[in-house]
Each structure stands twice: as C-alpha cells, then as structure tokens.
Subunit: 478 residues, 2 copies
C-alpha cells in the first residue's frame, strides 16, 4: 500500500455492488482495519477523528440540557443483570462472560456490559433518597460488547463505541418529556451536523428495547433504499425502579418509585454518514464532522514560489477551517483522488498561473464543481463554501429520501416496491404483531417506526385488511 508509486485504485461502484462499495470505502479511506479478534474492528485515525467530532458536538448538546458525564464499571455481575426479567432475556444470549480473574475462577461470573441500565439502577438505588436528589441526568461514553455472528464495520460489530444516557425522574411526565427531548436532540444533531434527515417515531412493541415501556427512534434512509436505525430513546416507566428498588421520599414524605429513561447513539452513525453521502469516488464528509475540511494541493510545486504561496494559503485558511496541505512528491492527480476518497469537503488548488493571476481554485467534493476565487478573499470564500456544502448535502439527502418514500395499500404492493425501488414504505397497520410478523416473513420488511407525523393512507391494515390504527414506516433495515 505504501510508497511513492501507490495509485488510488478505483472502488466498486454503488450500482454494481453496494455492500462491496461500502467495504471498499471503509478500507481505502482508512477508517478501519480488521483485527485479530473476529467481529472487532480497529478504528484508525481517519475514522476515529470523525467519531471525536461527533462526540464533541453531541456532548455539548447533552450538557446544555443539564446532563453530566460519569464512568461506570465495564463488568456486570450475573445476579445484577438478572434483576429485570425482560432485560436479561433480551441481552443474556449475546453477552461475553468473564469467568476467571487474577489466576482464579470467579465465584460469580460477570458479563462485559452490553448496555448499562443495571449498573445505573444499582447506583441510583444508592444515591437517590429524596425528591431533592432528582432528576439525575447521567451519561457515559464507553464501549459495549454484544456477541454478533455476522458483523460489518460500524454497522454491526462485537464491540462498539457509544454514549448511553440514563436518567431518573420524580414523575412519569418528566421521564416522558426527557425521552422525547433526547430523541429530538438526536434528530436535530443528525440534520444540522451530519446532514442526514431523520424520521422520528415510536417503535412497535415487537421492536422496542428489552425492558422499556416505549422506545422512540430516528430512522434514516441509505442510498441503497435500506433503513438505518440511528439513535433510540427509551422510557422505562417505573419498571426498572421496582426491580432495583429505587425509591425516593416525595414532598409529602411518601415513598415513590422513580421513572427512568435511557438513550444512545453509537459509532454505527458513521455507517450512516458513509451510506447517505458517499459516492463512487469515495467518502463524502459533511464539513461539520470532517477531520480536515480543506486540503491545499500545490500544482507544479517545483516551480518557484508555488510551495510558499500554497503554504501561505494553508496558514491563512487554518484560521477559519481545519486545513491541511500535501507537499509530498506524489502527483497532483494522485492527491486529488486520495482526498476525494477520504471525503475532504474542499480542495484548494494553486499553481504558477493562479499565482500570476492572484487566484486559486476551490473544488467541491460533493458536486465536483470548481470555482476560481481571488486569493485576497479566500477565507471568506472557503467559509461560505463549507456552509453551502453542509446545507446542500442535507437537501440532497432529503430529496433522495423523499424520492424513495412510497405508500402501499396492499402486501403485494409492498413486495413490488421493496424488490424494484427499495425505500421507506408508508402503510397502515392494525396494531397486531401477527401482521408485523407476516410482513417480515414474506418480504424481510420490518416496521421502522410509527412516525409522530401521521398520515391516513387508507382505513385498512395493509396486511389483514382489518381496521387500521396507525401509519407505519416500513423498510428493509441494516
């Protein structure tokens, strides 16, 4: 892979094989490396820097709503995991067990956290006594482990990075409010920072989190017409509080159970960024999370004055954007392809002719468009262009999603859509799990969510023809 003569080899096109295109990108843009542990990935600097930018932006938004960060142990004793029945049933089959430590067999085995509800409950039971101690709005950034048979970089791996927020409230209303608040926060973050529009809604009972009263979700549509669950927010009611005995004394000095929520977003969202924005030349990163937003490429750099001028441009642009420069002896063509593969939003080209004319060229990664601008105005021009790219990427993603959102009146219609022009399918549902199961069995289509914005497409369930209760977004999902 290394050396002066390395060429940027082409990747599989999206049309030809979307799955292979995805794998090519994560490898060639050097986002990840496979590791010697099956199903675990190594996140390389190009990938991790994206995660750091996501973390920073999300964390700031969390803290603005009063959330505080903590760190909980990575191990959960088996007895603690087992206290909430639905929860343990949901997670026990996919955990990793530590059975030996310090050379000895453990008296009680511990799992590596697949999620930390049980640990937060244990903590809250200890530190919450009075209504004055509420709410508790804790979050942690960590890695979790879930044993998966089939894994794909970012989308599904045995270990992944995420944040998990866990809150405890005095009332049911307050817990519901926080659940929705965090869902909205996720959706706004995805639109404003990742340039990915989201459908917000509630999961059906079949699809909700193990132990939750209700699960809310944001769903995005990938370029290939498949859906990706991008973040979830759960309202637990007082179920966990009862299992873990988390009670507080209210203002009237009566004991009550707390009401809890949890909400999470993971490195999976990087998969969404790749599959929503990427193209056949590689990654396309929204400026707000791009580790480098601008790359300066000198043209004919051995000619007098080129390197100095390019470096001066880089220095100036570094004050307004995350800017890099490539002065290696590779050809400009190689460099163009390389930084296109890495998805850097703006390329700045500067050569002898440009210098003579007092201009440089800005090339947009998202459209390929080139603009010649005066060097004197370069900070202003680049800042404005990064803004435009960020907005345009969102609008293109929205247009693609809307163009691939369909309505269906019958099972047959659903099947035809999913096989011919895959996308979101809006269709009515009677509310029975039987119909949900049938749709899944026939077409591998799952209910993505019952959207907050309801429409009445028909009176009848798309599956059984009985009276419909809700409009559901359906789709094939990652």
């Amino acid at each position: 892979m290394a050396g002066k003569e390395k060429l940027v080899s082409a990747i599989t096109s999206r049309e030809e094989d979307f799955a292979q295109w995805y794998t090519d990108i994560v490898k060639k843009a050097e986002l990840i490396n496979y590791s010697s542990i099956k199903g675990c990935m190594i996140i390389r600097p190009n990938g991790y820097a994206i995660w750091e930018n996501i973390q920073r932006a999300l964390d700031e938004r969390f803290k603005a709503t009063g959330v505080e960060n903590v760190y909980m142990p990575m191990f959960i004793p088996e007895s603690l995991l087992q206290k909430e029945k639905d929860h343990v049933e949901g997670f026990a089959p996919e955990v990793a067990w530590v059975t030996h430590g310090g050379g000895e067999k453990l008296q009680e085995r511990m799992c590596v956290r697949p999620t930390s509800e049980t640990l937060f409950c244990d903590l809250y039971a200890n530190i919450v006594q009075s209504y004055r101690d509420l709410p508790k709005l804790y979050n942690q950034w960590c890695s979790v482990v879930r044993w998966e048979k089939t894994t794909r970089p970012f989308l599904r791996s045995m270990e992944f990075l995420w944040q998990e927020g866990h809150t405890a409230h005095a009332t049911e209303e307050e817990a519901e409010e926080r659940t929705i608040q965090m869902l909205n926060l996720y959706a706004d973050f995805c639109e404003e920072v990742l340039a990915i529009p989201m459908i917000k809604g509630k999961k059906t009972d079949k699809e909700k989190f193990a132990g939750a009263n209700s699960t809310y979700t944001i769903e995005a549509l990938m370029h290939d017409g498949k859906a990706l669950q991008s973040g979830t927010s759960h309202n637990f009611g007082d179920g966990f509080a009862k299992a873990y005995d988390i009670q507080y004394t209210d203002k009237e000095n009566k004991l009550s159970y707390v009401h809890q929520t949890s909400w999470g977003m993971s490195t999976r969202i990087i998969g969404a960024v790749i599959m929503v924005h990427g193209d056949d030349s590689g990654l396309v990163l929204p400026p707000k999370i791009a580790p480098k937003q601008v790359m300066v490429i000198p043209i004919a750099q051995k000619k007098e004055g080129v390197l100095e001028n390019a470096q001066a441009l880089c220095d100036r642009l570094s004050k307004v954007a995350r800017t890099g420069i490539d002065i290696s002896d590779k050809s400009p063509g190689w460099k163009f392809s390389e930084y296109e593969m890495r998805g850097i939003p703006v390329r700045v080209e500067i050569g002898p002719k440009d210098i003579e004319n007092g201009v440089c060229v800005l090339a947009r990664r998202d459209t390929g468009e080139k603009l010649t601008v005066n060097i004197a105005d370069v900070e202003k021009e680049v800042t404005a262009l990064l803004d435009t790219i960020q907005k345009d990427m969102l609008e293109r993603a929205r247009a693609h999603r809307d163009a691939h959102t369909y309505t269906a009146q019958s099972l047959e219609e659903m099947g035809k859509i999913i096989n011919e022009t895959p996308g979101f399918i809006k269709a009515m549902w009677c509310g029975s799990q039987e119909c949900e199961n049938k749709i899944k069995e026939e077409y591998a289509i799952t209910s993505r969510c019952m959207p907050f914005e309801q429409e009445k497409i028909s009176d009848k369930c798309v599956c059984c023809g009985k009276e419909a209760k809700t409009m559901v977004y359906w789709g094939k999902a990652y």
Copy 2:
C-alpha cells in the same frame, strides 16, 4: 445525604489518619462511589469532570506533537498476548479472562486488555511496509483491567481509565527521542496544569515495564511523604518488533525492524491531585482542571436585590471562568463548607452591604484569604486571582516536596528518615538488584527513579558500601 438540613460533616484530619482522610474526601466531594463489583469504582460527575479537563489538556498537547487517536478492541486473544515473553509474564497473572460468548464456550479464551502493546504490534505488522509509513504515532483513550487484590479509589482499581500511546519508528534514536519527549510532555503538563512538580528519571531494571528496554517515569511527592508514580514512558527497542514481526523496507530497500515506544497516564493522577493539594476542609483543585472555578454565593439572599446582583455577577464571570451560583435555600455557612469540600478555587460572596458599597468578596480556597474588590473590576480581579492560585499551588507543592527531600549515607539513615519524616530520599546506589531488594525488605522503600539531574552524594552505595554508580530517588510508594 440529601435534604435541606444536610450538614457538611467534618472529615478526618490528615494528621490523624491520612488514608482515612483520603477516603473521606473521595466520598464526600462525591468523586466516586463504590460499585457492586469488588475493586471497580464508579466515577461520579464531580470526579469525571476533572478527568475530562485532564483529557482535554493532555490530548491537545499530544496532537500538537503529531499524535493521532485510534480505538483498538478491548479483547486480546491468548495466543497474541503470549508472543512477547517478558510481557506475558508480567501481565498474565493479573488479567481477566473471557471464556464464553454468545452462549458458547470460546475456542480460544481472550483477556480484557491490561494494556494494548500486543494489539498495536499486530496492527503495525499489518499496516507498516515502507519507511514512508513511519513514524506511526497512535494513542487511545480507554479503560483497562488489572486484577488487584487491594484497591483504593483512583490509586489502584481493577478497572481504570487512561490513555496509552504507542509509536513505531525507523530508528533507535527516533524512538528514544519520542520516549523522552513524552516524558517531558507529562512533566510539563503536571506542573503547568495540575500544579504538581515532578522528578523525571529512569526506572531501574527491577522496576521497569514488562518487555521494555527502558522505562522513564515522573514521580511526585504526596502530602504524607509517600511517592506516586504519575506517568511512564517506555522504549521497547526492537524487542516487540521481533516478536510480532514488524518490518519495513528502508531507503536502501533493506528490511529492518521498527523501534517502538509506549507511554501512559491514568485516572491515578487524580489521586495525586487530591493528596498533593487537599487539606482538612476537603479537596483543593488547581483552577485549570476545576470543573467549576468560581462559585457565587448570595448572602441574605431574601433581601431585595441580592439574588439579581448575584446572578448578574455569575453571568459576567461566566464569560471569563467556569462559574456557578448556588441560590438554594441552604445557609451560606453550609454552602461555604460544601464548595470548600469540592475544592472550588474561588468563592464570590455578595450581600446587601456589599451591593450598597459596590463591592463583593473573593475567598481563595487554597489559603482561605479574603479580598474585597469593586464589582466593576470583578472579571479582571477573578481572572488574576485564578492565575495567582494556580501559581501559588505549584510553589507550595514544590516547597513541600523540597522540604521533604533528604539525603542518606547509610541504610540506618534511610530507615530513620522514612520512619520519622517520610519523603524522597536521595542516596547513591551501586546498581545491583541485591541492594535494591535489601532496601525494600528492610524498610519497604523502593527505588523511584534514577533522576536525569544527578548529584554526587557520596562515592559509595548506601547499602553495600561498594562503588556507587548512580544517585537514586528512594521512597515509600503508593
């Protein structure tokens, strides 16, 4: 603990029982909570916010030297751990083993990383081919697990948070240079940000890292005269490269082994902050890492205008420092004690009389000193005071360390010092492990480091009386 009438109960004094004083502080300042997993701690918001500030400052310094962040799997297959003989001997006894996952027994057990040299070696063997790929300057922020029988919050726990840097270089010289560069970076960080002066030096062979050619360390002196190893930087030479087959093609097209380093700092350093700066009223935080630097306390807050003026002060100060305000109905006396316990550097008091006179009172946490300043100048005054506190804390810590650094000419003298006036002991050493062992057996004193700044205290080894080679800092250690 909760409720209006909660009193800030006194903590054990340092003189009475330093260990109990430490435990009292970590609990009462709400830095940690014990968890249901023996030896694992929960880092609560007050503690985690300190770690976030440490992380931010360190990470910035790392990146300024070209370091890039990555994330490696938390599991290490047994066969991978075993490739470097010294390394596995050092760590195997204290790891936790995962033997089951996804409901099945694993074909090969995996340990939870105690440190990640082996994983980084595996990665470098894959991605380093040519001299053009070097150096690799990777770092990760993560948690690691080491099975410990006796644990203490921050100082020694089964799981702890840290960063581990791992670099690969073309030459021996470059690796040595990076090892020393990172040691200096740690020492500067501790002095400039944590206000803790460090002794820099090299570990003896007995005390070096399992698998390293040489280990460098920074050592700090705690208030009780015991030493704390605060950060280490290791030069591996090409030992790991040979064990893991990490070769590159050099400019002459010959295959050579890379030279590697690793370096780490952990949540342990929070223990140093507590034990260097804390006093009998609680935590004392250096302004640069204090989650809140200033706390505004209204006096007689029910009197007209007090709350508004206090809030206005808080708003103005928020622009120059991390500022909070406590307008709860607890008494000012309670609030004073509470924020002293939490170590907040500056308290701002404002009451009806102050408002009349256009002044407010600034109280320093580190000295207890009070200053009356004009409200008009409050931003300037507080900024200057935070600076002064930061500097004074470093100077006081340095004076304490210097006053508790002794020289010894004989074993008996060492014993007398360590029992009567514990501190660092500078004494000559012949270089034999026999003498090192003897000193440890007799007085539980270990060699802390062979400092870069050598002095010639005598010609003879403090233990055997033979010719001395090096001056060593000795001490009792955490």
